[in-house]
Subunit: 214 residues, 2 copies
Amino acid sequence: MRLSELSARSGVSTATIKYYLREGLLAPGRQLNATTAEYDETHLRRLRLVRALIQVGRVPVASAREVLKHVDDESLGRTIRLGAALWALPQAPDPDEEDPATIAATAEVDRLLRTLGWDAAREIGALSPVHRSLVALVATQIRLGYPCDAETMAPYAELMRQAAARDLDRMETYESDTEMVESAVSSAVLFEPVLRALHRLAQEEESARRYGLG
Amino acid sequence: MRLSELSARSGVSTATIKYYLREGLLAPGRQLNATTAEYDETHLRRLRLVRALIQVGRVPVASAREVLKHVDDESLGRTIRLGAALWALPQAPDPDEEDPATIAATAEVDRLLRTLGWDAAREIGALSPVHRSLVALVATQIRLGYPCDAETMAPYAELMRQAAARDLDRMETYESDTEMVESAVSSAVLFEPVLRALHRLAQEEESARRYGLG
DNA sequence: CTCCTTGGGAAGTGCCACTATCCAAGCATG
DNA sequence: CATGCTTGGATAGTGGCACTTCCCAAGGAG
């Protein structure tokens, strides 16, 4: 299909598609001659993923490019490739090591991981952007005076562990590594908002049950 | 304290604080004379909340103003006030009613709520921005070809219901309605990222257990 | 041959969260 | 009292980002 058809089928303007091509978010089509290029279903699918990343996941274009680079890098092993793609997603800004709230948060997170027996997470530790951003987030909570200690987080962490186990079960249904990594990215960027929406809906439901609708 | 001290203690530049004052995110200080205004601990606390909303929660300034307006509105009842504050938070864009993916998503969400017995959520239905954005998110998943039906979501929803019950328990420890609403906003904007970080950390942990660290 | 379409690149737009500058009024110190 | 800093308020400007507009040369259709 031509660029204009790609545009029509995806609902994305040709100008924007050209912009994504320039930014390297989308592979160029097969060049038929100087003024014609042909695109196929894989381009359409990738374009939809890009749109979802940017519009739903609010991922900046530059980060999206990094993420997709790892998704496409077939030279990496499955685990590394998965980690590389997910770690390229935007995280909370890194914590300030000096800040007393950060020091307290680091201690709480470590205590939490020990309590839960999440040894791999402790081993990876500050190497993982996820770990660092968790510390930064807990520090923010502490700074605002909300209790956010290991005891508070542990039951939530256990719920999230159950969700994660289910995520990986779902991922294992994919054949190729590329599909798996792409689904992991989708899961992180698109399924997490679903989870969040379910969470808020559950809060509304629970609140209505306890206090009524009025 | 003076503006400059408020700035020093919060780590926010005076220029930015003046901007927040202008935008109505922060109440003006007590005016001592033409060139001096005095701020207190409540201003510092509110300023930290504003920063957290904007920087951690990525809430646009205009939305933050709406949210805080409801937090401060003591004329409303507890439930309404809570709902008003949370519904002012930015949500996924509203779904396109025409789109077949949206129609399918609406059906799945309704089926999910019936399965779970979340009758209040069904009753509120499309009135709730949360409900609408859930539909939009499910539609996006469907459009990308990922299964996102009632059966897939139900176990996750049950986990989120447990989390929500815990959230409300925590909220009930607050005395005044204002504190409760503020904590609910903090919970939505700041604790949700904590939950998400725990989720991703759990994925890393689980992935390391299943496939090793290599 | 003429006109419309196509793909590509450079420059411009609009939004948003700040930020720099200016100004007049205090206050502090010598 | 003079000088020079700080303060709060207002206005205009900045930088980043996700597009979007404009223009051009090359095809292809009639």
